[in-house]
């Protein structure tokens, strides 16, 4: 099984396309069937034979079914696609903030923070559901607007390793693009289900209407029509569910496998699944709204597997556990509350299974492709690490985390200070420019904001370069807690601070990419994306713009810059290209930004080429600076490909 990030994204996308095709087919079949049903119904009531070809009737039926099913599906998509936060809020989730004093919640946050930094994604908001069962879900449309929610039962019954396994499972859903797939699946089935709802209403209405006036005949006819629609809807939804459940079960297996791969510890997720089996409440979610998002959960949220498991959204628990632990005898353990051990808060233990060895019953751990050319080797390795986590990366994340000064870590936990932290990150190293920025901040911002910023200047300036982006990732959940008006003021302030020094530095640009990308997704209405580009040939011009800037950034001399540009271009498109390195003075960040936006409109396989090309260009001089890696991170972030910090360290 392929575990490459881009392949997973691609397969999720292809599945979505397939589903839409199936869905259109299903609607056509439904229209035909409803038309037939109405004809039979008319035949029954009329004394003479009815005409079999009635275009008007077909039109009415097509319009009715189309509007109804399509409308219902769109409604559902709109409801579920509004971002992970709304889904969590709808479920009554309570956000766990960085300021929490509850040791169990703190432990959960630590696990999520480590995992996010290890994967190179901003820390997602974490929610706790007031449910005593053990369950969890990830929601959101893209890695950028994802949230993780776990039940209170998870916090109480699971050990740190098990909780880490559950979080890793959810991260796999986030990184593999499963959530978007899920939302569409749910919506399509909901649309078909509506038809049977109509049938049910007709039946009850027909029954009531006929009891007053009208003969037995018309009553029977209407009842028949209702029954027909009801059955059609149910049958349609049944097949929809079978497809959906099959897809969903496969993604669950994949997420289990990924959870083991991320933590290299089958006992983590395996232990959590065993506890679900052993707990009286199991994985039940009492909230009635859970029905709408049942497929997002880590384990079945409702009782019963339904029709021989055909409709089960998750594989049987025992099968999932056996895949992780072949020795499992089917005896679930007795589950007790777990105390938070002080030492557990210290952090993850190294994986139980040595790196590289095959895990029992699981697809092999993907090998980082061995490429002969050193330059492309680096680039491919970087691309292969996109969207991947492993225990080393988690360890590395912990090390990064530990080397961030306490004062900054605390500041990142709370919206008021997190904002000041971003301001401080944007202040220039040069004293004169910094003073100019501070004077402006004094005029625009409230006095407490300025005071908080000034307090953070010294520790931020002392920070080593490689810690700045992880710090930004850590601050993200706090920044997301702002209200829309507060975000607006913050955004304006960030822009002003950035432009104060007349020149946007690369770090500022990267910071802006990450900030805007993830905060705007939450606060500003998002326009829908255009068509996806699947041919690299059509992206040569934006790619050349992006590579030019990268080349000049690494190499001040034209000759070397040219070589870097060529290395990147050749890796992207092969030897046949006509574009040349853009002259230095024409390489602005504004054009670069536009080029990146265009490049983002491409399918995952093309994105992989883009990432590889950028990495190859950076690596052309066999030297990778922190600034270049930051820029690569910004590029990857814009392309929705999370790049782990470790990917860059290893190769230096």
């Amino acid at each position: 099984m392929a575990t490459d990030f881009f392949q997973q994204q691609d397969s999720a996308r292809r599945r979505t396309v397939q589903l839409v095709v199936y869905f259109v087919l299903a609607i056509l079949v439904l229209i035909a069937l409803v038309y037939g049903l109405l004809l039979v119904f008319g035949q029954q009531r009329a004394s003479e034979p009815v005409e079999w070809w009635q275009p008007e009737l077909l039109m009415v039926v097509a319009a009715g079914v189309g509007i109804l099913v399509g409308g219902a599906s769109l409604f559902k998509v709109a409801q579920l696609a509004s971002g992970g936060r709304d889904v969590a809020l709808m479920m009554g989730g309570v956000e766990v903030t960085g300021t929490t004093t509850d040791p169990r919640q703190r432990r959960l946050l630590n696990i999520v923070e480590e995992m996010a930094i290890a994967a190179g994604v901003p820390v997602p908001p974490v929610y706790v559901l007031d449910e005593s069962g053990i369950n969890a879900f990830a929601a959101g449309y893209a890695p950028g607007d994802a949230v993780v929610a776990v039940s209170q039962g998870c916090l109480e019954y699971l050990t740190r390793d098990e909780l880490q396994g559950v979080v890793a499972h959810e991260f796999s859903h986030i990184l593999n693009g499963d959530m978007r797939l899920n939302v569409r699946l749910i919506a399509l089935i909901f649309g078909i289900m509506v038809l049977s709802a109509v049938g049910r209403v007709i039946m009850s209405l027909g029954g009531r209407r006929a009891s007053g006036s009208g003969g037995r005949d018309s009553r029977g006819g209407i009842m028949m029509l209702g029954l027909g629609l009801f059955v059609l809807g149910l049958v349609g939804a049944f097949f929809g569910r079978v497809i959906q459940a099959a897809v969903s079960r496969q993604r669950e297996h994949l997420a289990d496998a990924s959870a083991v791969q991320f933590t290299r510890n089958p006992d983590g997720i395996g232990g959590a699944l065993k506890k679900i089996g052993g707990l009286k409440e199991g994985s039940r979610i009492a909230n009635p709204r859970a029905a709408e998002i049942g497929h997002m959960f880590i384990a079945n949220a409702f009782a019963g597997e339904g029709l021989f498991g055909l409709l089960a959204t998750h594989p049987p628990l025992i099968a999932r556990i056996r895949a992780l632990d072949p020795q499992f005898d089917g005896q679930f353990p007795e589950v007790r509350r777990v105390d938070v051990d002080r030492r557990e808060l210290e952090g993850p233990r190294p994986g139980r299974v040595p790196p590289g060895s095959k895990l029992p019953g699981l697809p092999g751990i993907p090998q980082v492709p061995q490429v002969l050319l050193p330059v492309l080797g680096f680039a491919d390795a970087a691309a292969a690490r996109v969207g991947q986590i492993d225990p080393e990366a988690i360890q590395h994340a912990r090390a990064l985390f530990a080397s961030i000064p306490e004062a900054l870590r605390v500041a990142a936990q709370e919206p008021f200070t997190a904002r000041a932290l971003i301001y401080a990150l944007l202040l220039d190293q040069r004293a004169d420019l910094r003073n100019r920025q501070l004077v402006r901040l004094k005029g625009d911002a409230e006095p407490p904001d300025l005071a908080a910023t000034v307090r953070l200047v010294a520790p931020v300036q002392a920070l080593t370069d490689n810690l700045r982006l992880p710090l930004l990732d850590l601050a993200m959940p706090a920044l997301r807690q702002m209200s829309p008006p507060q975000h607006q003021a913050f955004r304006a302030q960030v822009e002003a601070l950035m432009n104060d020094d007349q020149r946007v530095s690369l770090f500022e640009y990267t910071l802006r990419c990450v900030l805007h990308r993830h905060l705007d997704a939450q606060f500003l209405p998002q326009s829908s994306r255009g068509p996806m580009q699947s041919s690299p040939q059509k992206l040569v011009s934006p790619m050349a713009k992006a590579l030019s800037l990268l080349a000049w950034e690494g190499q001040p001399e034209p000759e070397k810059a040219n070589r870097a540009f060529d290395t990147g271009m050749r890796s992207f498109i092969g030897d046949e290209y006509t574009v040349r390195l853009t002259p230095r003075e024409k390489c602005g960040l504004a054009e670069f930004d536009v080029a990146l936006q265009t490049l983002n409109q491409s399918v995952p396989t093309v994105k992989r080429r883009i990432v590889v090309a950028c990495a190859a260009c950076i690596r052309a001089d066999k030297k990778v600076t922190v600034r270049e890696t930051e820029l690569l991170r910004g590029i990857c972030d814009t392309l929705d490909c999370p790049l782990p910090p470790l990917a860059m360290v290893e190769t230096q």
Partner: protein, 199 residues
């Protein structure tokens, strides 16, 4: 084809879409309400933090201001009332009467703290006390955080109130008991107090 049946089907279809629409509105209200409830948790953490700091403050000033007992007791009592009110609001931030109580209790606490700090100006030893300075600094930063979190909370409450007031949401809100929520006001006194001197 019987026209009655067609009309019936059309009405049904429209009715169904209407039901979805209403469900959407209802869910929107639930989300908006949960959003400001979550925003209150932010304030709550900081309020609790401040309540925890106050006994330390009293402990620190007691030795110096032994004969200002009245002021000290006023602070202690105000803290007690505010804590009780805060617990009520934390249980349900959507309850306007509890919020009003908290508003009053908080302004009382802010006022009494303000008096305490004003009085402390008269004690040079106390002003120079390291412990006191650290506490003052801590209280100020907590105060700032409360201010920012309160702004966010009030923004979310306003958004919710506005959302529930417009037609047709107001009908859904009425049907399902989505009551108007109260803002957490910042009393003037409280905004000023406690004073910080960076000197």
């Amino acid at each position: 084809m019987d026209p009655i049946v067609i009309v019936l089907l059309v009405i049904l279809g429209v009715g169904l879409l209407l039901v979805f629409w209403l469900i959407g509105i209802y869910n929107g209200l639930v989300i908006a309400r949960n959003r400001f409830k979550n925003a209150f948790a932010q304030i709550d953490v900081q309020l609790k933090r401040r309540y925890d700091l106050i006994p330390n403050l009293i402990e620190a000033v007691k030795g110096f201001m032994a004969h200002e007992r009245e002021t000290l007791e006023a602070v202690i009592n105000a803290r007690k009332t505010a804590m009780a009110a805060e617990q009520k609001v934390a249980a349900n931030p959507a309850e306007p009467t509890a919020m009003k109580e908290l508003n009053q209790a908080e302004s009382l606490l802010g006022g009494s703290l303000g008096r305490l700090f004003a009085l402390s100006e008269a004690y040079p030893d106390l002003k120079a006390n390291q412990n006191m300075l650290a506490l003052q600094e801590e209280l100020t930063s907590t105060e700032n955080k409360i201010g920012f979190a309160r702004q966010a909370f009030n923004d979310f409450v306003m958004a919710y109130n506005n959302q529930r007031q417009v037609f047709p949401t107001v009908m859904v809100a009425g049907m399902f008991n989505f009551a108007e929520a109260a803002l957490l006001e910042a009393e003037k006194q409280e905004r000023e107090a406690p004073k910080v001197s960076f000197k």
